[in-house]
Amino acid sequence: MSLLRFSASVSRRLLWKSAAGESVSTGCSRAASGAVSDKEPLKKAKTPQGRFDLPEEKSKDVLEKFPDDVNPVTKEKGGPRGPEPTRYGDWERKGRCVDF
């Protein structure tokens, strides 16, 4: 029984590691210690349902969207995200060449 709980908390820790990014250490310590400090808001139990109540970390795409989708340098609206794709002579996106 205790083994189960241990493995469950380990897997939870791993899950938190992948989902929570920078907040790994706090997540870990919270799961490991099991004690909820008074400063933290009251959280639901760590059931699957409870987990979904956590603020979802937006997956950070490496190519960020421009504000209002307008490229500040070229003033292009609705264009490709990130640096200019044709800057190396081919059409580059995320390190991949898609046209040349």
């Binding site: 490709p80 059409w91 046209d99």
Partner: protein
């Protein structure tokens, strides 16, 4: 359309062999054998389009718009065609960023094709380009915009102003970073407005030819294994390229050159198949291309000895040498045994000597790409790369209207009832080398051209010419033979042999002895096709059978490619040979033409290769056809006389 069943025999089954499951249909006896009778369904349409990528969809709904009863046969769902992977832009001389003229685009394209492109087709494409892009935009394609709301154009793909003398031109329109995806979805959405009949997941087997005229297509319905004959006055081939003949390519697994093979089996020629566009750094196994920016930022190519081998091949430019030099150097290293990996068939692109911060700011996303496609951490390990096929300039020969032609008795002759467009066709606008962002333009312009030509010459509801009741028999016999094939080689083995041979012998490094060796090996591999073994004996969703049919198609394309390359004794555009490094034209254009004698047709190489194959023996016959040097209207747009191509 009338539908009648020629043969009707219910397939009931007990599957013997490794799978050992029994099922019965309609209460037939449990141990009955799988039927070898094929139910055939006949359809009649005004026009049939094979392939539903960018070009196929445009042709299909262009025809439906003109009132023709159109069928679109495709082995994939339309939005899964390989057009969806085209993320670059589309060129058009709209003149939104600076003053522009389509005649300058015409000049750039003719020059890019190394004067092997037919100037009338290029004239047609570049003149129609602005109208085509505006039409797409009216269909709802969300191009990126300037502040004024006009379509934003960027510099890309060897485009210049004032016939090469006015600097860089900005002609490339795009939709964020997913132009091909957006184009395909726009065209698909638009096509649903018209009543085109879609036959999705139908694998087209062969053309129905009678007396040199194309009368339709015979196809296998993959879902239930029935054979369908589509009789039509007009057939349009838009099946895409054949990247999968090579071991490393950016194309989907479904790019198997089905259209080219159907045309070959019908006894018609394919044009310029030796011109295949390569990119030096494609990820080994995955086929995605790594941008040249990696080398621009300081990445280096290393061989098995850890040596930066580009220093030997290009002492000044080193890794920043032009693409063809880099590709050839990589191939030479691999040939000489200094490749890496268990098969020693690729090299490494090293980026981990660069500061990770620099990589992240200058090339955002590359670590993600390397991890997903190559499984390497780009800050610690090098990326495995090798020269990769990206595009096929060659294909089914057509004139500028999209009609398929043959070259007999010294003149172009139209094949009645047959048209082709897109990457499968060779109009030829790309000639010996395709410029970036011209391919998507090619799709829409010639897709529309096929529809317009058919509308001009025919009327909806025309009576179909009679067809032999046994038409398509050979295709079904071939299908049956493959379905019950019991040789010793699996389809995947033969395919891998072909791909490895093509990659080793018909890739970037081409020289007489290597090509000759490759031709002999390919001929031998072609003979092994008689020794295939398939495992699935059923007819419902038999992917083993479909892959074997695709392998037959790939083999026809591969033998034509390597034999055409072996015969062409010059270097032009994408076809570069070590033993014949120069272009051989009718005049020597590097010197003034005064006093030069024009070489006869059979002694120069500024001509199209027309290749025929005898499907039974695999023997390739080559003929040649002159390049069309005049534009459609000499007053409006003067032709571009050949010159030395240098940028």
């Amino acid at each position: 359309p009338s539908v009648w069943f020629m043969l009707f025999h219910v397939p009931a089954a007990a599957v013997h062999g490794s799978r050992n499951f029994h099922f019965s249909i309609y209460g037939k006896k449990k141990n009955a054998q799988i039927s070898t009778q094929y139910p055939v369904v006949d359809h009649e349409f005004d026009a049939v389009v094979v392939g539903a990528g960018g070009a196929g969809l445009r042709a299909a709904f262009g025809l439906s718009e003109a009132g023709f009863n159109t069928a679109c046969i495709t082995k994939l769902f339309p939005t899964r065609s390989h057009t969806v992977a085209a993320q670059g832009g589309i060129n058009a001389a709209l003149g939104n960023m600076e003053e522009d003229d389509w005649r300058w685009h015409f000049y750039d394209t003719v020059k890019g094709s190394d004067w092997l492109g037919d100037q009338d087709a290029i004239h047609y494409m570049t003149e129609q380009a602005p109208a085509a892009v505006v039409e797409l935009e009216n269909f709802g394609m969300p191009f990126s915009r300037t502040e004024d709301g006009k379509i934003y154009q960027r510099a890309f793909g060897g485009q210049s102003l004032k016939y090469g003398k006015g600097g860089q031109a900005h002609r490339c329109c795009c939709v964020a970073d997913r132009t091909g995806h957006s184009l395909l979805h726009t065209l698909y959405g638009r096509s649903l407005r018209y009543d085109t009949s879609y036959f999705v997941e139908y694998f087209a087997l062969d053309l129905l030819m009678e007396n040199g005229e194309c009368k339709g297509v015979i196809a296998l319905c993959m879902e239930d294994g029935s054979i369908h004959r589509f009789r039509a006055q007009n057939t349009v081939i838009a099946t895409g390229g054949y990247g999968r003949t090579f071991f490393s390519c950016t194309s989907a697994h479904t790019s198997t050159g089905d259209g080219n093979a159907m045309v070959t089996r019908a006894g018609l020629p394919c044009q310029d198949l030796e011109f295949v566009q390569f990119h030096p750094t494609g990820i080994y196994g995955a086929g995605c291309l790594i941008t040249e920016g990696c080398r621009g930022e300081g990445g280096i190519l290393i061989n098995s000895e850890g040596e930066r081998f580009m220093e030997r091949y290009a002492p000044n430019a080193k890794d920043l040498a032009s693409r063809d030099v880099v590709s050839r150097s990589m191939t030479i290293e691999i040939r000489e045994g200094r490749g890496v990996g268990p098969d020693k068939d690729h090299v490494y692109l090293q980026l981990h000597h660069l500061p990770p911060q620099q990589l992240a700011t200058r090339l955002p996303g590359i670590s993600e790409t390397a991890m997903i496609f190559a499984g390497v951490d780009v800050t610690k390990e090098p990326i495995p790369v090798l020269p990769t096929v990206h595009y096929n300039m060659g294909g089914v020969p057509t004139n500028y209207k999209g009609q398929v032609i043959t070259y007999t008795d010294g003149a172009d002759k139209v094949v009645p009832g047959l048209y082709a467009c897109g990457e499968a066709a060779c109009a030829s606008v790309h000639g010996a080398n395709r410029l970036g962002a011209n391919s998507l333009l090619d799709l829409v312009v010639f897709g529309r051209a096929c529809a317009l030509t058919i509308a001009e010459e025919h009327k909806p509801g025309e009576k179909l010419s009679p067809l032999k009741p046994t038409a398509g028999e050979e295709s079904v016999a071939n299908l049956d033979k493959l379905r019950f094939a019991n040789g010793s080689l699996r389809t995947s083995e033969v395919r891998l042999n072909m791909q490895k041979t093509m990659q080793a012998h018909a890739a970037v490094f081409r020289t007489g002895s290597v090509l000759k060796e490759g031709c002999d090996k390919m001929d031998a591999i072609y003979q092994t096709m008689d020794d295939l073994k398939t495992f699935d004996r059923g007819i419902v969703w038999n992917t083993d059978l479909v892959e074997t049919l695709e392998l037959q198609n790939l083999m026809l394309n591969a033998v034509q490619t390597i034999h055409s390359a072996e015969q062409r004794k010059e270097s032009r555009g994408a076809h570069a040979r070590e033993d014949f490094k120069d272009r051989v034209d009718e005049f020597d254009y590097s010197k003034p033409l005064q006093g030069q004698e024009k070489k006869p047709f059979d002694q120069h190489w500024r001509k199209h290769t027309m290749s025929y194959v005898d499907p039974k023996t695999g023997k390739v016959t080559l003929e040649y056809r002159p390049v069309i040097d005049h534009s459609l209207d000499e007053q409006d747009c003067a032709r571009v006389p050949p010159a030395i191509r240098s940028y």
